[in-house]
Symmetry: C2
Subunit: 479 residues, 2 copies
Amino acid sequence: MIENNWPSYHITAWKNWINDPNGLVYYQGKYHVFYQHHPYEHKWGPMHWGHVISDDLYHWEHLPIALYPDENGTCFSGSAIVDHDNVSGLGKDGIAPLLLFYTADLNGESESQCIAYTLDGINFEKYEGNPILEHSEYRDFRDPKVFYYEPDNAWKMIISVFDHIEIFESTNLLDWNLINTFSTESVINGVWECPDLFPLQFNDETYWVLILSVGPKPGEGSTRTQYFIGDFDGKNFTLLESSNSIRFIDSGLDNYAITSFSETEERIMITWAQNGYYAPATPKYGYCGQLSAPRLPFLFEDISGNLSLGFRPVDLPETINSSELKTHSSEGKMYAELSNKPLLIEFGLDSDANFELELYNDSGETLSFSKEGTELILDRSKALGNIDHEAFQEDFFKIHKAEQKLNEPSNYFIFLDSHLLEIYAENGTNVFTSTIYPKSPLDKAKISESTKAKFIELDTFKPAISVENLAKMNLKEDE
Amino acid sequence: MIENNWPSYHITAWKNWINDPNGLVYYQGKYHVFYQHHPYEHKWGPMHWGHVISDDLYHWEHLPIALYPDENGTCFSGSAIVDHDNVSGLGKDGIAPLLLFYTADLNGESESQCIAYTLDGINFEKYEGNPILEHSEYRDFRDPKVFYYEPDNAWKMIISVFDHIEIFESTNLLDWNLINTFSTESVINGVWECPDLFPLQFNDETYWVLILSVGPKPGEGSTRTQYFIGDFDGKNFTLLESSNSIRFIDSGLDNYAITSFSETEERIMITWAQNGYYAPATPKYGYCGQLSAPRLPFLFEDISGNLSLGFRPVDLPETINSSELKTHSSEGKMYAELSNKPLLIEFGLDSDANFELELYNDSGETLSFSKEGTELILDRSKALGNIDHEAFQEDFFKIHKAEQKLNEPSNYFIFLDSHLLEIYAENGTNVFTSTIYPKSPLDKAKISESTKAKFIELDTFKPAISVENLAKMNLKEDE
């Protein structure tokens, strides 16, 4: 009777606006995700850090807002690390502190780097020495990503500065020295944001992947996230020659500011699975935007022999009850009836096979995903009846295409949770992250029978906040 | 590191003020409890109906506020029934509606009875024919309790009217006729409120119990809940001669407006386990007051041969992890160290045995419960350091005594959950419900060794609200 308009297994704000995931870290037995958050409106505004925790990366519990704006400014994006050796001196009683590195944005006029810390993962203090880094030249100086670089026994921090990356180093996490910069021309037009830099193995070689999100102005394309593959020696990030080009991590337009966890064995990443341009026009169910499912990046050689970046989703936990839907076949198509629960669609495909998947309803709304020859095509143009935004006057925002990446049989994994569609095509070498806003639920599915697809519905889950934690929110309206 | 200042297994408001439990009902597979609620302040105010649900009566989930004030007034106490035969016509598509009967209080000047209904247990509509009952004579006309009376194939509604009960009858739940009144002199001074009337068996006989809560003015004693045992024939409630006296259901002062569930096989009751006089002075952790654990009323013959009312708690579910604390003994006392989790204390006692239990800390704060001769004594006078209220200038509000009720060995069950203490002494024939507000947690316990008491700590539980339901709240601050 009640529609499931909130995602079950994807992070939203506890209320209103979310954008970049921040400070992903495993700490004291829980996965912590923070997020850029405006608690008061269905649009971007004064940034707070919202906060959720999980045992399994899919069932999320909301916690009180972690960071509120202060005299240094509003709290822009950043990262988190655990200071096991208490080099910062912010630990106490043998408890390793969790440090959040974030950008304080002062009235949109200047940006500095700040630290907040906690000993319990819930209650945060701002570091009294804030800000720890300022920039004399650039206003756009943000999104610190901090990581430990073992060979140097030192912490590194990369910060996006308008059109380049600056690399800093520290041994006490409080005092940082600029050691290098990095830039490349292979970036779309726009301000550089949310860098991440981490090693990945391929064929027993270690490569370093640089993630960069770039925000052009409306009308000049869309915010996108690029990646570069190269080497990092603690000071210099050197691009592979084959990687000095504009390559996006996603063929959809709802993937921005992806970033990775600290303190996990595998490299786990989560992205803002929403496009900020049209996010404020999304239906007002109480939340605005969501993050993606957790994803594991990997390197592979694509059909042309280029070393490339793919993503596969972290396995769903077995604690989620699921049921495979019955299907019936007719004239080469398989049909299933959907009930508006979170939905998985899984199938395998030969590299030269075509298919077409449609999710649709009796009102004529349709979402289609297909492969025609070497092209994968996601068409959401008929699944946007419940959002009114100028973006959707352009096909660019409605129809997304990608060239086939693999020349071998591969698996397709599609996850629809409320308004978010995640497509991990071709073993995850070809990812589409896209939102849909049909007027009515898409309650029917059909797909080429040759796919032998499985349609699996998951029980819904309602992310919650304890009323005790809710009472700890320090909102303006309660003053 | 974080103190457990909110109860784990007792209902509070999701935020701020709670008083009377309302509309207790089992509906569509869940226990529903509504409650008198002022969402904006740590004190009584414009009444809403808050709402929680549970599978087991101990793990509660918060739902959106069910009833908001409207043009008929604020929403005072009442009851709930399920209209299985849809005699009201408020059902739809074969779904039996849940009907809430409540009092609309208009500016404190007049009171009328109203109906709200739901088909999903979450979203409520006010009945368009509201109010369904008004009173020409009395301003105090409230707290409708509705129940089905099988012998008459009719619904009965009892309403407290200043100093008496009025009994109404209906076959369609919408149109009600006054059929009788009931009064007695055996009531403390104050306005009659929150009546309940239900059958209980004793020695294969059916008796009817009338519950009545009475609210004297501050300084004229305390709000208390009385009970009467008698017979009810659908029209007349006739007191047993032995029951025509002032008898309270509780020897503590934090028990008011107890009421029972509809649609359960056993008679299950929950009470407001807080005294409204000093409730606003309780510490401001974000909630103000709580309800009791669910209780099963029963009849028994007391030591003097009088038919009396007792209560035993509904068994705690086995899903709650618990651990029995280690104790050590010295000089006739057993000692245990407490960790501020919900605590059970259980022991058996011969009827002529004395004992003393103390919960205390190193700051000199103590709560004591003892039996001396035939007297049970609860002394919280040294456990009120964190509440400042004029009530506690009087011993009446600090030391509670009761005469022994049984002349046989019996069990004691004590449940401490945050600030609420529930004592079911002598098999529950002697109940003390009392709040305590020490400055520091009472982290030690000692008790007479002869009791062989078990101290059992329960895992804490944090009642929560889904963020989707939270977004459905329609609060002033969001306008």
